[in-house]
């Protein structure tokens, strides 16, 4: 009798779907052996669940003001205290997870495919296409990310959508570099030649045969970069260029709490803890994924 586990770990999978599932299962079990990546995974999972179930988790409305309850210290009813408009900080932090998750997902969805495509094209065609695309990438890479994002948001106008665009614009070059390096190592492989001889055009080769092989190193890099994305987004919010009030964005909440930092410390510190925990979660998970997925360490085992 074949168990699910046997099916997943089969040495000669009978379908592409079985092979993929088997690989995902191996990665998953390898991750489980590393306590820090388990912790990271749990943090990200909690973030996901919090974002999805925010309306049921948050005890109060994130925007509902109650001026009689201003600036109350953390207590049994207001776990993280209340802010200057009497809003419950815990509820706002819970709702803020939706904003953070949206930013992280959208930045990843915009910048990773963009970088992947540019890098793969540069690596596959080589020559002057490579030189132009990579020259462009290198210029972006050698500029300070945060400052560039600030300047872009300044031109586009403040707001959460523009913040996402600005962060995505500044984060694709690293992915392009990785994708190019990966493409160069597989470009001359025999199976690629076989596909080419079978009449596949460059688009087909890149999309169907090169990009899938870049995904694992891309996943590692994107996960590791997410902490930086969260910090940049929070920084934009803190300066007042990201999410606008009354949105409960964590960076903007810290900015509001600045005025009260000397006497009502909880207003600014609580959202900060949320940022730190989530960023740490992505760091832990990324570190673990790198150990499991990194092609170099995989070749040894």
């Amino acid at each position: 009798m074949m168990t699910t586990r046997d099916w997943l770990l089969a040495d000669s999978p009978t379908s592409r779907w079985q092979a993929n599932a088997g690989r995902a299962y191996r990665v998953f079990t390898a991750l489980l052996r590393n306590p820090l990546s388990v912790l990271g995974g749990i943090i990200i999972l909690v973030l996901l669940l919090t974002a999805i179930f925010a309306p049921w988790i948050a005890p109060y409305s994130p925007t509902g003001q109650n001026l009689t309850q201003r600036l109350l210290p953390p207590s049994g009813t207001n776990w993280m205290g209340t802010d200057e408009l009497g809003r419950d900080i815990f509820s706002r932090v819970v709702w803020g997870s939706q904003i953070t998750l949206t930013i992280v997902l959208l930045v990843a969805l915009i910048s990773a495919p963009l970088g992947l495509l540019i890098g793969a094209i540069a690596g596959y065609f080589g020559g002057w296409i490579d030189r132009i695309l990579m020259g462009f990438t290198d210029i972006f890479l050698s500029l300070p990310k945060l400052i560039l994002a600030l300047a872009f948001v300044a031109a586009l106008g403040p707001g959460i959508n523009n913040a996402i665009i600005a962060i995505a614009i500044t984060s694709w070059p690293a992915y392009a570099r990785i994708a190019r390096a990966e493409t160069l190592t597989i470009r001359n492989a025999e199976y690629i030649s076989a596909v080419q001889l079978a009449g596949a055009g460059p688009i087909r080769v890149i999309v169907q045969h090169i990009l899938p092989l870049c995904t694992s190193s891309m996943i590692v890099r994107v996960t590791l970069d997410m902490a930086g994305v969260i910090l940049t987004a929070a920084g934009l919010g803190f300066i007042g260029l990201g999410a606008q009030p009354p949105l409960p964005e964590w960076g903007a909440m810290i900015s509001r709490g600045r005025t009260f930092i000397l006497d009502q410390w909880w207003v600014a510190t609580m959202p900060g803890f949320a940022i730190i925990i989530v960023s740490l979660g992505f760091c832990f998970l990324g570190d673990g994924l790198r150990d499991v997925l990194d092609p170099k360490s995989e070749g040894k085992s």
Binding site: L141, S142, I147, I239, I261, S279, F284
Partner: protein
């Protein structure tokens, strides 16, 4: 972070000295070309941000109630009736002659503003990197020497925190704890209010100016104020430097010559600090350079928190007032400094490391 240098042209077979000289010349040329192209790229990006993204820069100047004639006149005065490439050439020319336009909010030339605000940032970032190097390198070395000890674990945690703690938040918490509660350090700003304007700016750096003028009291006050922001910045460079030092040292300590030295009976302290540490000094320079460049960026956030009159504060104020000349000017200057530090540490690496020559 570092960019790939263009491949060196294969030198013709000649005697060794000529070969090396030729290679060095082409390396220098290649370096200058990439530097030039990167600067041009930076200019293109700031140009693009300033002239192309805003829906209508003219409208921003004349307002929406201007007549068509006024509008055209303003467009012509701003050079916006020219083709885009002519505008770009004019822009590059202006920047090269030090003309970054006029700031709407301060009413002064942006270049003048920046030269006034930059020393404060430089002072803070330099002190920050000093803290980072002085503490980070020994911590990294010790962590590697005692791999797996509690100190090693602690340094790992510090390294990860360096990636996940928002700088502005750490600054705020620092103010709440060390200034408001403990009174160990001075509050926001560079000096207490009653010391303001007592030191004539010579270098623009209060610590140095006050020493030159023999104002010990002001020097102490300035130190009192700079300690916290510089330490917060220093924390981030410490985290990065310690982590990199640790991994470089671990590489060295697993080498055979280290084992040989230990077997010969060389004291452990000498093995670590001479045999293993000497070879990593060169890569460390690159790491420190990168970290220094990163601090310039980090100071943008820190300066807002500490009301530090540096270029970061200038930039954020300009951002909120939509003062685009000031925004692009500061972006350009910070970007240029960032590029130069990056490239110089890259070159230093090539010059100092015999293997890379």
């Amino acid at each position: 972070m570092t960019t790939e240098q263009p491949a060196l042209a294969p030198p013709p077979p000649q005697n060794l000295a000529g070969k090396r000289a030729r290679r060095q010349v082409s390396a220098v040329l290649g370096f200058l070309i990439t530097l030039f192209l990167t600067f041009l790229g930076l200019l293109a990006i700031t140009f693009f941000i300033g002239r192309v993204i805003p829906i209508d820069p003219v409208l921003a100047v004349v307002g929406d109630r201007a007549s068509q004639a006024q509008y055209d006149a303003a467009a012509a005065a701003m050079g916006l009736d020219q083709p885009l490439y002519v505008q770009f050439v004019t822009y590059v020319g202006n920047v090269l002659t030090g003309d970054l336009g006029r700031s709407v909010s301060t009413g002064r030339a942006v270049a003048e503003d920046i030269s006034r605000f930059f020393p404060a940032t430089f002072e803070m970032a330099t002190l920050g990197i000093l803290i980072g190097v002085v503490l980070g390198v020994p911590l990294g070395v010790t962590a590697a020497a005692r791999q797996g000890s509690w100190l090693d674990q602690a340094i790992r945690v510090v390294g990860l925190l360096g990636y996940s703690v928002p700088a502005f938040w750490l600054g705020l918490v620092g103010l709440a704890v060390f200034y408001a509660r403990l009174r160990w350090v001075g509050g926001p700003g560079r000096l207490d209010i009653f010391f303001d304007g007592l030191v004539t700016p010579i270098t623009g750096m209060v610590l140095i100016d006050s020493l030159i003028q023999g104002e010990v009291e002001i020097f102490v006050n300035a130190l009192w104020h700079i300690v916290l922001p510089a330490s917060v910045l220093g924390f981030f460079s410490l985290a990065y430097i310690a982590r990199m030092t640790r991994s470089f040292m671990l590489d060295q300590l697993s080498q055979e010559f280290v084992t040989t030295a230990r077997v010969k009976g060389v004291p452990e302290r000498v093995v670590i600090w001479r045999h293993a540490f000497n070879p990593i000094r060169v890569p460390l320079i690159t790491v420190i350079g990168l970290s220094y460049a990163g601090l310039l960026e980090g100071s943008v956030m820190i300066e807002t928190v500490f009301s530090w009159p540096g270029i970061g504060n200038y930039l954020t104020t300009a951002l909120l007032n939509a003062d685009m000349n000031a925004v692009l000017g500061s972006t350009l200057v910070i970007g240029a400094v960032f590029i130069v530090i990056n490239k110089v540490s890259d070159v230093l690496y090539r010059v100092l490391d015999p293997r890379a020559r």
